[in-house]
Structure formats: structure tokens, C-alpha cells
């Protein structure tokens, strides 16, 4: 009994280069249980032929770990920014629409340039100012509950879902976005990192800092790591205000 192979249709928004015009192409991929969007794109690589039978260049995208920890394969799937590797076809409406996250410059097809996020991490001084990698003495003991909060925030994989979802990130604003902002909170929690908390808070007072957050709450909805972004943004907002007052009275 020859059963007909079930197919999954993908409608992919493509673009040959940063300044080229976007266009769409459709591909059919053989269905199998557990199929995810990256696995489907890999099948297209093996057989880059559109539904019209046209042989085309394989779709370009970025991926590494396929386990939802590296953050590379973020794209817009059926209108929502998410990681492609853990987007199971069974849980998506078909045909499945793939598009690049256009909050960021498109390099090609689904491949985008997220370097702005890494630059923002420099701006908020996202590190603990250790003296060096050499031995000094024992590291300080930490409150296990605070450490657990730090662990939650430290899952942020700089994927950019929250920036793509945020209405305040874009050409109309210079907001650095939820992910890098909330990283400041992470380092302010650390027993050594908190020594530089005023520097980070002052950085967030600048243009594009926390005052650009419009509290639309979209970020927390899309975070693939379920980081309570809005909670920490609110906390940071209070900390920044306190710092502003300190700045006034200490002068």
C-alpha cells in the first residue's frame, strides 16, 4: 500500500543581499514526526528546488547548536520571532512562513546582522571588573536565592527575539532593547559586579537607555528562555532613578 508522502509547505521570504529587493519562494519538505524548521531548511539544502520545479540557491540562514542555547537561528516564523531549531512543524500552522528578523539589517535570506546587540553589551559594561584571571583569594559566598535570579538572567543568548518584538526598537528610536538592558541588572547583582553598578546605571540614563523602554511588555512574551524581562526592567528603572537622585545630591 503505497502511502503518499505527506509534505510540509514553506513560504520563505528571501533576499539576495542587503540592498536587494525581497521576494518569496515556496518549498515542499517531506513530513516526518519531530520535524523542526532547521531540519526542514537542511532538507531544502539537500534538494534546493521550489514547488514550481525551479532549481535555486539553497536558503541562507544561521544556526549552530540546534538545542536552543546558542541563539543563532532566530527568525520570524509565522509572524513571530523565535528560534527555528525548536519550532516543531507539528505545532505550527501550515503553510509555514519564514522571514528574516527585519529589526536587524538583513545580510541574505534569513541571515541577519545582530552585531548591534554585542556593541550594546559593551555600552552597559556587561562584565565583572576582575583584577585578572590569576588567583587572588576565595570568591565571595553568595546568597543562593540571588544566585538563582542571576542564573535565570544569565540564560540570555543574545538571540534578539525581544528586540524584534519590541515596538521601541527600530529606526524611530535608539533604544538598545530589553536584552542588553537587563544584562546590566545581572552584573549589578553580583557581589563584585555591584561595585560598578553606578557606572552601568549611568550608562542606562543616556540616550537609548532605559527611558526609551515604553513598557509594552512584548519582550517577556517572546523570550525563548522565559526570562522575566519586564520585572527586571522595572527594577532597573527604579535603580536608575535612585542613581539619578544620588547623582544630584552627591554633587
Amino acid at each position: 500500500m503505497a502511502e503518499e508522502q505527506k509534505k510540509v509547505r514553506f513560504v520563505i521570504e528571501r533576499q539576495d543581499g542587503p540592498n536587494e529587493k525581497p521576494y518569496t519562494q515556496e518549498f515542499d519538505v517531506d513530513y516526518r514526526p519531530g520535524l523542526n524548521v532547521v531540519a526542514a531548511l537542511m532538507e531544502i539544502q539537500k534538494h534546493p528546488v521550489t514547488v514550481d520545479g525551479k532549481r535555486v540557491a539553497p536558503v541562507t540562514w544561521e544556526c549552530n547548536c540546534l538545542e536552543k542555547v546558542c541563539g543563532a537561528c532566530m527568525m520570524v516564523i509565522n509572524g513571530k520571532a523565535r528560534q527555528a531549531c525548536c519550532s516543531l512543524v507539528d505545532k505550527l500552522d501550515q503553510p509555514i512562513h519564514l522571514a528574516p528578523a527585519r529589526t536587524f539589517p538583513v545580510i541574505r535570506d534569513l541571515l541577519i546582522d545582530r552585531s548591534v546587540m554585542f556593541e550594546s553589551l559593551k555600552r552597559i559594561q556587561g562584565w565583572v571588573e576582575i583584577d585578572g584571571t590569576w588567583e587572588v583569594k576565595d570568591a565571595p559566598i553568595q546568597n543562593p536565592y540571588t544566585a538563582q535570579t542571576a542564573y535565570e538572567i544569565s540564560h540570555c543568548m543574545t538571540c534578539g527575539c525581544c528586540l524584534e518584538a519590541c515596538p521601541n526598537v527600530g529606526p524611530q528610536s535608539d533604544f538598545i532593547g530589553p536584552a542588553p538592558t537587563v544584562q546590566a541588572y545581572l552584573f549589578n547583582l553580583h557581589p563584585l559586579g555591584k561595585f560598578d553598578a553606578p557606572k552601568r546605571l549611568n550608562a542606562l540614563m543616556q540616550k537609548g537607555g532605559i527611558t526609551s523602554c515604553g513598557n509594552s511588555q512584548n519582550c517577556v512574551e517572546v523570550c525563548p528562555k522565559n526570562i522575566k524581562l519586564t520585572t527586571y526592567l522595572a527594577q532597573l528603572n527604579r535603580d536608575v532613578n535612585k542613581q539619578a537622585l544620588k547623582n544630584i545630591f552627591n554633587h
Binding site: D16, G34, L35, N36, V38, A39, Q45, K46, H47, P48, V56, A57, P58, C63, N64, C65, L66, E67, K68, V69, C70, G71, A72, C86, L88, D90, I107, R108, R114, S115, F118, L121, K122, Q125, G126, W127, V128, E129, I130, G132, T133, W134, E135, V136, D138, A139, I141, Q142, P144, A147, Q148, A150, Y151, S154, H155, M157, T158, F187, L192, G193
Partner: protein, 633 residues
């Protein structure tokens, strides 16, 4: 300090080892050009889940650095350089404190000190961890510190650049690299005082594995083809517990077993005939139970599934069960990975047992290096998974994050010392740089013209199938010989690849074609080394065929018969099989094979040439490995 000349070191790879080396170089006053396929924050080190071993001895178990040393050497089946291992385990507690100061959110005890957990092949709690995403947290800490140095001007990152090859000066000293921008496709030569490769493992040679898509071993293969020796490439770790998938086998951390997870299948009770859960690891290895090392667990799963036919409804699965452990405990200790099982399989492992199977995971072998991490090519160093050091024939869980970080603390400072020693000869001339660049450009342009019927990704898939078939958990010489022939065919078919994308912008297809050739050539080195090592040791387990038996030394024969009693050679497979139906493996042969495999590339016929080299093993006398009983020292 003021008079020191400015030294430029190229580090290729931004995982734990590359970043650690980078920090050390910056602290030593050197400058780093850091090359990576991806933003370094997305490197594969972040996939390590369970933890990092260090003797912290905070659990009242009288753990000692010596015990860590002995566990590592014993676990590696006495093929690791013992002085190198000793240096690593001694440094481990200091590294943990460094990571703690950097802000790694380690899981803590109620009083706020670092918690420790059990891990395979170790009887004491010795594994520091940050939930179940330890690699991610360690990598981020180094990424942050490197970013700090980037701001200070010590580091220039070349992210989305692919390493193509090293450039040697007229005296054969490595003084630079050729790399390609993965977007603009521009190919450029970069000069340096010393080059450190920290490019990770070759998992993609097997196609589906626990490694990231970027772990293709292409850089290692490239320098191997330029004269770098490989060490022990036949030793690949098969992780017993992965979630099989068509795009990737996803790792299910050993921490599951460390926190009390049990591995089982259904069977008929041999006495009563009733259907029961058989906790076969606990049954076979009473002393270590579910916490036997990975090679031992993988072979046991193969035995139960492949040879005894006790797999699940889907034949290639066994159960890894956490459902008896309280949900809040699981959440605190294993949160991240349980969520992953849910994400990718759609079932909750807190409620139902997970279905898992062994998968290629880690390469103990790699580029041969000395204890300071120099390769045999002067000026070229290697560190991290891409080198062969520290793990011998099998790596213990949670020793990989340790070896990655530790090797960076050696290779980094040593690269500066070497650069300042004056031994690194003349810098490259413009002509040498241009010649190297041009040859890489020519090679790339040739790939863009490829017009045959083969699809590179399809060919890669077949390469993985072949390697899994012949060079995985159970190997025999017939299969390995067959594999060499199959690989020659694959290499031939590589010539017939056709390209659909001939453009010069973000052409991932053409880059993959170049990587694939390197992968095939590395696969040859793995297979040829496996073929020539006629013994079983750690991850390399070889089944006896009749010819092997006839050639075997009397003392080894005696050990085999003592273990198995009578056995025969199976008519179909030719494999030695005992009366219980168990496969009969070769024994470890210290007389002949307690040596490092050295593989050199023969430029003429593109085949590997295998020889053996003595190594340092004077500190702990070799003894046979047996996890059915508690380890004796």
C-alpha cells in the same frame, strides 16, 4: 613592561579554550586577532551541560586532587599523558574560583558555597555546576571578559570569518593564516607571531551527533594536510544518553544519572518469566551502577538493544528515567535540559521516562601537542577539544570544560613566551602572504565552478552513515577495511559535486563544499588509526575476528578465554561470539599499544600514515579497568 615589543597572536576559535587563551595573552601584554565562524558567544562550549570537575572537597568525602588525577587516568584507560593530566587537575580548583569571581552563576548550597554533584566514573562529588547549562555560563563569563579586553583594545574580533589554512615562512614556521569573510567572501592573509588553533571537535564527520553544526573539524583537517600530526584520532566518545534526531542527536546530560536517573529496558525475568524493568547498568556494574563511564555505558546499551533485542517499541531506544525524583529537586538541579526534552520531543521527563540512545559526542584525539600545546609545526599551537591531550582513550564527564579552560591557560601564555623567545623566525614576506591568499582564492573559484550531479549535503549525510556503521561503538577489522574503501569512493564523489549558488555573497554552499573535503580526509585518519590499533581501550572497542585470534599473543588469548570461556566465530559476521551470545572483544594490549597514535598525511596519495609514540605514564601504574567493582589504587 614598557620595552616589550607588541606581540600579535592569532587565535582561531572562540570557545572556552580560545577565549581563555585570549585573556591570558591580553593580560601578558600581547594583542589577539580572534577568528570565529560565529559570534564567539555562540560557540559550541555552551552545549556542555552537566558541569566541570574540580576537587573542591566541600562535601565531607575527603576528596583529593590525587583521586581526581587517578579517576581521569583510569577513566582514560591509561592513554593520557600523566604529567599533563596532573597539571590540569591541580589547577582545577583555582579555575573554579576564577570563574566564580567572573560571575558564573554556579548552583549553590543553602549556605552559599558552590554545590557539587556526582558524575560518571567518579565516586566522590566533584562536579561544580550551574544548573544544567554549565558550559553556557562558563562561556559567557569568558565572552564578557574578552569583550572587556576588546574595549581596552587588546582584542580584535573577526567573527563570521572562516579559517582556511596556515601560512609558513621560508623556514617552515607558522607565521599567519588565510581566512575568508563568510559574508563578503573576501579571502585575506593575516600575519602573526604565533597561531593558536582552538577550533573544537570533528563531530560533524559523523553527521548526526551532539555537536553543533560548526564542529566540523575542517580547520584541524586543514593543518593536518599541511603537516600537523594528529594524536589518537580513533578515540571518539560516544555519549550513552542522547535524544536521537534527524537533524541532530541532542545531548541529555550525564547529570541526569548523577542526580539519580536510572537507565532501563523491559525484559522477561529470567527466573519467573514475568515482564519487568531491567536496570541493566546497575545489574552489570554494581559498584558504579548508572554512573559508569560513557564508553562502558554505551557498549552496555548496544548490547542490550542491538544484540539482545530488548529495545523499545522504536528499536533503537532505552529509557532514562527521572520520574521517581521529586519535581522541585529536578527543576533546581536539571531545569534547563528537562525543558529541552519537552521542547524537542514534546513530552515531560518529570512524568515519563525519556527515550535515549548513544551518539557521537566528543573527540579525545586531535592535533598532537606537547605539554605546552605546541604542535609539531613550529609557531602553530592547538588547545581545547581540537588537541589530543588530557583524556586518553576515554574522557570522563565534566572533564571537557576543565580541559578546554585549562589548556587555554597553558597555550595563551606559552604563545607569548614563544613569540618573545626569538625562535619564531622571520615574519612572512608580502609575496608569501599573497601566494597563500591567491592559492586559497583559486581553490574557492574552482569550487564555484563545480558542476557535477552530487549534492554536498547529501554526500555529507552518507559520510555520516558510513562512519556510524563502521567506526562507532563496536568495531572490527573487516568493517574498518571496508570503511577505508568507502571513504575513498566518497572522496572521489566529492569531485562530482554540483553547486547551485555560484555567487560571491554569503555563499554557505561553497564554503560547505570546502569543509566537506576536509571532513572526508579527517574521517580517513580516524578509520586508518582504528584499523591499526588491534586492541580494545576506552572508546575503541574491537571485536575479535578469526585472523586476529590467530595472530594474537598467548597472554592476551588467555585473558580473553578467562573472561568468556568458549567462543566461536559467527558464520555471517565472522565475529567472535561466546556461549551467552555476547561479542568477544580484544583485550587491552599494553605491550604493543600503550602508545600514542600519530597520524601524518601523505601528500602523494592523500592517505593517513600511522605510527606510534611513547608518552609519559610513570606516575600511576597501569591496571585493568573494571567498573563492576570499586576502583582499587
Amino acid at each position: 613592561m614598557a620595552n616589550k615589543p607588541e606581540n600579535k597572536i592569532i587565535v582561531v576559535g572562540g570557545g572556552l579554550s580560545g577565549l581563555m587563551a585570549t585573556l591570558k595573552i591580553c593580560e601578558g601584554g600581547g594583542k589577539v586577532d580572534l577568528f570565529s565562524y560565529c559570534p564567539v558567544k555562540r560557540s559550541h562550549s555552551l552545549c556542555a551541560q552537566g558541569g566541570i570537575n574540580a576537587c573542591m572537597d566541600t562535601k565531607g568525602e575527603h576528596d583529593s586532587i590525587y583521586e581526581h588525577f587517578d579517576d581521569t587516568v583510569y577513566g582514560g584507560d591509561f592513554l593520557a599523558d600523566q604529567l599533563a593530566v596532573k597539571g590540569m587537575v591541580e589547577a582545577a580548583p583555582k579555575l573554579i574560583k576564577m570563574f566564580d569571581r567572573m560571575g558564573v552563576p554556579f548552583t549553590r548550597t543553602p549556605e552559599g558555597v558552590l554545590d557539587l554533584r556526582n558524575f560518571g566514573g567518579q565516586k566522590n562529588k566533584r562536579t561544580c555546576f550551574a544548573g544544567s547549562t554549565t558550559g553556557q555560563q562558563l562561556l559567557y563569563a569568558l565572552d564578557e571578559q574578552v569583550r572587556r579586553w576588546e574595549v581596552k583594545g587588546g582584542v580584535k574580533k573577526y567573527e563570521f570569518w572562516e579559517f582556511i589554512r596556515i601560512i609558513k615562512n621560508k623556514d617552515g614556521i607558522c607565521r599567519g593564516i588565510v581566512a575568508q569573510n563568510m559574508n563578503s567572501m573576501e579571502i585575506v592573509s593575516f600575519p602573526a607571531d604565533v597561531v593558536i588553533l582552538a577550533t573544537g571537535g570533528p563531530g560533524q564527520v559523523y553527521g548526526r551527533c551532539t555537536a553543533s553544526t560548526i564542529c566540523n573539524g575542517s580547520a584541524v583537517s586543514s593543518v593536518y594536510q599541511q603537516g600537523a600530526e594528529l594524536g589518537n584520532p580513533e578515540f571518539l566518545q560516544i555519549h550513552p544518553t542522547a535524544i536521537p534526531g534527524s537533524d541532530k542527536n541532542r545531548l541529555m546530560s550525564e547529570a541526569c544519572r548523577g542526580e539519580g536517573g536510572r537507565v532501563w529496558v523491559y525484559r522477561k525475568n529470567p527466573q519467573t518469566g514475568e515482564k519487568e524493568r531491567w536496570y541493566f547498568l546497575e545489574d552489570m556494574y554494581p559498584a558504579y551502577g548508572n554512573l559508569v563511564p560513557r564508553d562502558v555505558a554505551s557498549r552496555a546499551i548496544y548490547k542490550v538493544v542491538v544484540h539482545m533485542g530488548l529495545g523499545m517499541h522504536n528499536p533503537n531506544r532505552v529509557y532514562l528515567d527521572l520520574s521517581h525524583i521529586p519535581a522541585d529537586y529536578l527543576e533546581r538541579k536539571l531545569g534547563g535540559i528537562l525543558e529541552m526534552y519537552d521542547d524537542f520531543v514534546g513530552k515531560d521527563p518529570r512524568k515519563v521516562p525519556m527515550e535515549i540512545f548513544p551518539s557521537i559526542h566528543y573527540s579525545m584525539g586531535g592535533i598532537w601537542v606537547d605539554r605546552e600545546h605546541h604542535t609539531n609545526i613550529p609557531g602553530l599551537m592547538a588547545s581545547g577539544e581540537c588537541d589530543y591531550q588530557y583524556h586518553g582513550a576515554n574522557r570522563l564527564g565534566a572533564n571537557s570544560l576543565l580541559s578546554a579552560a585549562y589548556s587555554g591557560t597553558i597555550s595563551g601564555p606559552e604563545s607569548l613566551r614563544y613569540a618573545r623567545s626569538g625562535k619564531n623566525g622571520e615574519p612572512l614576506t608580502d609575496a608569501e602572504m599573497e601566494a597563500a591568499r591567491q592559492s586559497a582564492v583559486d581553490e574557492f573559484e574552482k569550487i564555484l565552478q563545480m558542476n557535477g550531479p552530487e549534492n554536498a549535503h547529501q554526500l555529507h549525510h552518507e559520510l555520516g552513515d558510513i562512519m556510524y556503521k563502521y567506526v562507532s561503538v563496536e568495531r572490527d577489522n573487516n568493517g574498518l577495511r571496508e570503511c577505508v574503501e568507502e571513504l575513498k569512493k566518497i572522496l572521489k564523489r566529492w569531485e562530482n559535486i554540483g553547486i547551485t549558488d555560484r555567487g560571491h555573497w554569503a555563499n554557505q554552499e561553497a564554503m560547505f563544499v570546502r569543509q566537506l573535503r576536509n571532513m572526508i580526509i579527517y574521517a580517513m585518519a580516524i578509520t586508518q588509526s582504528a584499523l591499526q590499533r588491534d586492541e580494545s581501550r576506552g572508546a575503541h572497542a574491537k571485536i575479535i575476528l578469526e585472523k586476529d585470534w590467530n595472530d594474537m599473543a598467548p597472554d592476551l588469548k588467555e585473558r580473553v578465554t578467562k573472561k568468556h570461556g568458549e567462543f566461536h566465530f559467527d558464520k555471517e559476521t565472522g565475529r567472535a561470539t561466546d556461549d551467552k551470545g555476547d561479542l568477544v572483544f580484544m583485550e587491552r594490549d599494553d605491550t604493543k599499544f600503550m602508545r600514542t597514535t600519530i597520524v601524518k598525511f601523505d601528500q602523494e596519495n592523500e592517505m593517513p600514515v600511522v605510527s606510534y609514540r611513547e608518552f609519559e605514564h610513570s606516575l600511576i601504574k597501569p591496571r585493568l579497568r573494571n567498573y563492576a567493582v570499586a576502583k582499587k589504587e
